[in-house]
Symmetry: D3
Subunit: 279 residues, 6 copies
Amino acid sequence: MNTFIGCEKTYNEAETVLFGVPFDGTTSFRPGTRFAMQAIRNDSFGLESYSPYLDKDLEDAAIFDGGDLDLPFGNTSKVLDQIFDYCQEVLKDGKKFLMVGGEHLVSLPTIKAAYEKYPDLHLIHIDAHTDLREDYLGEKLSHASVIRRCHEFLGDGRIFQFGIRSGLKEEFEWAKEHTYMERFSLDTLKEKIAELQDVPVYITIDLDVLDPGVFPGTGTPEPGGITYRELLEAINQFQSLKQIVAADVVELSPPYDPSGASTAMACKTIRELLLTLDK
Amino acid sequence: MNTFIGCEKTYNEAETVLFGVPFDGTTSFRPGTRFAMQAIRNDSFGLESYSPYLDKDLEDAAIFDGGDLDLPFGNTSKVLDQIFDYCQEVLKDGKKFLMVGGEHLVSLPTIKAAYEKYPDLHLIHIDAHTDLREDYLGEKLSHASVIRRCHEFLGDGRIFQFGIRSGLKEEFEWAKEHTYMERFSLDTLKEKIAELQDVPVYITIDLDVLDPGVFPGTGTPEPGGITYRELLEAINQFQSLKQIVAADVVELSPPYDPSGASTAMACKTIRELLLTLDK
Amino acid sequence: MNTFIGCEKTYNEAETVLFGVPFDGTTSFRPGTRFAMQAIRNDSFGLESYSPYLDKDLEDAAIFDGGDLDLPFGNTSKVLDQIFDYCQEVLKDGKKFLMVGGEHLVSLPTIKAAYEKYPDLHLIHIDAHTDLREDYLGEKLSHASVIRRCHEFLGDGRIFQFGIRSGLKEEFEWAKEHTYMERFSLDTLKEKIAELQDVPVYITIDLDVLDPGVFPGTGTPEPGGITYRELLEAINQFQSLKQIVAADVVELSPPYDPSGASTAMACKTIRELLLTLDK
Amino acid sequence: MNTFIGCEKTYNEAETVLFGVPFDGTTSFRPGTRFAMQAIRNDSFGLESYSPYLDKDLEDAAIFDGGDLDLPFGNTSKVLDQIFDYCQEVLKDGKKFLMVGGEHLVSLPTIKAAYEKYPDLHLIHIDAHTDLREDYLGEKLSHASVIRRCHEFLGDGRIFQFGIRSGLKEEFEWAKEHTYMERFSLDTLKEKIAELQDVPVYITIDLDVLDPGVFPGTGTPEPGGITYRELLEAINQFQSLKQIVAADVVELSPPYDPSGASTAMACKTIRELLLTLDK
Amino acid sequence: MNTFIGCEKTYNEAETVLFGVPFDGTTSFRPGTRFAMQAIRNDSFGLESYSPYLDKDLEDAAIFDGGDLDLPFGNTSKVLDQIFDYCQEVLKDGKKFLMVGGEHLVSLPTIKAAYEKYPDLHLIHIDAHTDLREDYLGEKLSHASVIRRCHEFLGDGRIFQFGIRSGLKEEFEWAKEHTYMERFSLDTLKEKIAELQDVPVYITIDLDVLDPGVFPGTGTPEPGGITYRELLEAINQFQSLKQIVAADVVELSPPYDPSGASTAMACKTIRELLLTLDK
Amino acid sequence: MNTFIGCEKTYNEAETVLFGVPFDGTTSFRPGTRFAMQAIRNDSFGLESYSPYLDKDLEDAAIFDGGDLDLPFGNTSKVLDQIFDYCQEVLKDGKKFLMVGGEHLVSLPTIKAAYEKYPDLHLIHIDAHTDLREDYLGEKLSHASVIRRCHEFLGDGRIFQFGIRSGLKEEFEWAKEHTYMERFSLDTLKEKIAELQDVPVYITIDLDVLDPGVFPGTGTPEPGGITYRELLEAINQFQSLKQIVAADVVELSPPYDPSGASTAMACKTIRELLLTLDK
């Protein structure tokens, strides 16, 4: 009974699987993203299942809410393996997925799984941070390194970054040669979507791309971000992509969202993405 | 002594009556709007009584703060009757009023009272939600149905809705035939004000029209809304209406406003509306 | 060890001194700015020391974090004297400073000290409030009077105010003859910076110039303000000023910032200002 | 999957039914008890299913978690009817129940249903408040009148009140003739339990009997109450009652429990009561 | 209309005057006591006016709520003078008073005024802290020095301290020669009350005598304190004092009381003291 | 400058080393203990350095505050190794230590290090939970298993547990044969201290032994615990132990302590323990 609003199909009926990954084990500054999916499910009942933007309704879509993965705390690589196995299973069954984090590191196994099925995978990465560190305090498996790890298998020319406004100088330098990066805004997103419309695409949205003034509910607030309207318009542009194979929404941290406004933004983002995945 | 800042005239001296309706009895998701007027009066002392936007001062206006109505909890129809009687009395005495909610359902008796005195009444409705349901879980008297109930006496061509971005598909369909509705923004408000400048107008502002990123203090956060500046500019346009007979501001919920910023926005909205009513 | 991120030079090595003034003794409405610098130092570790806006890094700059002044509570004029002495010492040693408040009254002795060294000093004042009262409840030394007090020694033609949207009618009238004031926005800042590029300039930023919707962490929320992006762009324009002699950032109040988003904005503002001072 | 910890039997297997009543419609001061059961289910996972006090485990007990009743907001008498019907059904099927409120008024239909099956019913009432008002602001159906309403069918000699420390003078006078009342403590509870051991008993626990210093999570804090250990010892004494036919735990209000400590107390109270009901 | 519950007599009718002093200007650690009286008045409506402990009702007592003094911020000695003048006036009119702080320093002028009328005044001081410093960071007028300042006019043998558990070693040494001090508890209070029953007595209660576990709402939490029941019993013993001339309750700090439980304790303390003063 | 109050000796001068371990990586329910030591240092300035209980002052003691260990997130066994190495170094230098967690798992390496130096080590364990699980969700290194892991090297007859009130049935059974366990209270602590007075003792205090009503600031609230006074008296009894070689205080979680009262209790516990270690 306790699913995301309007996502009440069975696994077999579903074309898209929604699931949560309550993991924040490498978060250095302020943990809490583990609570995101529970808050999102509860508060999704404050949202309508109908989107006046897309004129579509979750009640009419083929979506299964698979609940949250049950993860062992304190053992990062076991956690990542378990996520990978789950996604691989879903993809093998011919379905798409929308994963909800957790910290950004949990996108590594989900993108890997999508890549293994779609070797021509392209990645749209919307975030405040570069996430391109070689390692973080010696650890290679860190939220601050997740896109760098993805580059190891995706390679040059496949990663498209938007909204980036924080990182080490080295990361910005490195990006110049290996990824497409738009700093500070999403202004060129539309143009890049046009280029990518026929290839398999994975979309990863770190919600801290939003300005913390309007989206305080994150462990890594980085001022100078975009408004929710700008993000909503971006998501609605994804309609033109013909092959979105999977997506994720990460880094909502309910302990920093006393009013629930950030959780409401996560809910609406997920509704719009689910309706976009469900073609 | 404990009034809204600068509203210290007696009832007899006043041309406009400000009063609060601390009722949230049909709120399904997150109650709390009953605390709005108390918070607004306390925090109004952080505001100046002078508006540099309108170059007018509350100290120079003829406004009486009538306090809050004393309502029986748990009996919705008795509550609505009591509000209606109060407004009818004020209007009979040749005064205007500004009501502060409470949940949106409390606008039903206030609009009804205004309509009974001004049968040619037109309604400007600024909100995130359509509020056009036939009923809500079987109840016809619900915050989600308030404008639909008003349509029963106002009829077609009298209701002008702005900022709407949430509702059932049926509500959006219904609106196409019975109300003027601008979705997502206030862009056409100016033009409609020009059309309405000579008729009697009631203005109802549900503060959740604001984006919850900038206005978290509401029980029904709906992302994708307008900024406070956009609302302020809208209110300042009301100056051109020649016959505003009454107005209301509803749905501030202080429990979801830990910093007081949303309450400050409600206070400033009320100051500007009072100065607009006081011609 | 506990300094603002990347500010680890010694006093002797430094060209710029960062220090905190934890004083909120004349705050009438909601105290709390005394906690600002402690929160800022702690949370600065969530920020990178590198600015992609200016392509500069705090690690490469010559900045000393001098800690917080140790102040006697309950004795305002002693407090102001102590701040003045500290600044005078720093300036005498040929250094610039960035002071972090505290309430806005603490800018009076810092501006005074700068003026005594640079008699041709010009003041850029970014704020929601005029701060031009002759006195506040009989007290001449009040946060609401600080710019009026500065005018007593700076005189006409030296004060440039931006973003102002609150005050008494008398203050707005007075400003017409004695200061340059842009109401509501920062639109003419660029033009004024061009005029001031060769004279000594002090910059005082009251963070409540930001809209409380995006910056709730202040004791004096005044709706209708600017976004953080607008402030960030303004700060980046200060690069063209050739003689910034000192600056301050005041009125962050951590008790009204439950999520830390406002503190993050203060941190980023300070980083950009420090990198701007460090030419 | 989302049940109270260890309550995973089906309705048919169960001897005891646990269910929630998320209603706070007549709460005059501070609403919020509607959120109690949701918080209790979530946080019950921080509790063990085993009780070292009773040496029993919920996993071994025959308990079904029936979820929450789905109630129409704003219509009190419809709500009470619906609760009554549910309880009557459960009792008719030969089961006991433990109801979790909600405000105290929701105990009226549950006690009524128990009384209709067991005409010799006795009531143990643990509370800070008398709840014996004839009416509250004219309404007879109010949380402040619930025990008075129960007296109308139970009659004299059947109601045993403990911990009472707040009410009108008239209520204390009235109680002298119609109920057994121990003021301020639970000291005589043991003795009364001995008297009642062979008759059918309903236990209603208003958690505000606890001192608000240790249990802040209630809308009606009344200082001078008992400690949690005293309540726990009282509950463990209920083991000697041979015929507990039903029970309830009401008035937890999660919005006033920022740390979750009060919710944890409610969870433990429920675990001990369930293990006591499950003989 | 906005008074403490049941205190609705006029000044002339009253025998006891209740008033608030919203001052926390020398608070070094965490300000906020300035908000106490406003919170107390609002929340007093969650309390009954009848005390079952004393079997008396505020409605029957002769009490005037004089509101809060209007104080200039940032000028401590002016504030103290103003408080002194107010109390002197009340005493001259033959009335008693109950003052609600504010920080503890505000008891200095109120005790002084009582002493000037009753030169044989004895002081009962209930607190966690000695408050016997010669000065605090050089300031003689500090919350940490208030009882030492009172000793300057009261002299030896007149000050009776209870519950004390924090201070400098020097303060505890000094107390041995100049005051009666019971450390850690109130165990000897009853005995001392018997000794003082016929002399004029002033009672000052710093609410931080309560353990912060049960009373978190204070700026100076000092663990190891008494329970609220112990305080309530102490207050009820004051009935035997024949000449209580005035009293105060200080140091409630609402910003550290998110649930309102501490405010409820302050309200009940005030109700019991008012009913005790009103003989 | 930013140390625990009064702990300003250098490492070489010190006989006792205080340090923090900001780790909560295996916390399953609610993370946050990583923030404990930072909060404790900040708030220790609200405490006096003098203890009237022990009549000793931190200023006179030989204590070094070694700051917090810098730990790699997401790699539990590396973290434990690093803690072990630090403690071994301190013990080798002939010093004692007081470690402040973090979650309880961090006591494993500190107890191990003490055991390697003192093979006859005895452990006093004060806690709400048994912590005797063989494993937790398959992980042997978990906060729920820490005392079981210690038993692997300490063996039978060396572990003395007090205040225990939560665990699996198997854990309570296992304890009967392998540890001394007092359930629910500390009543026999004095007697056991007498038995242990001449052997080397390590004291580990999980603050959740306190009732969450008085100590909400923990991730694992377990109602029915002891009061702070009972804990304080227990700590003061440790004076009779002649060979305390090290100690720790774990599981304070500042995010669940909005008022700071729990942090104040942790601070006072640490002061008393430091003064006890410093013979």
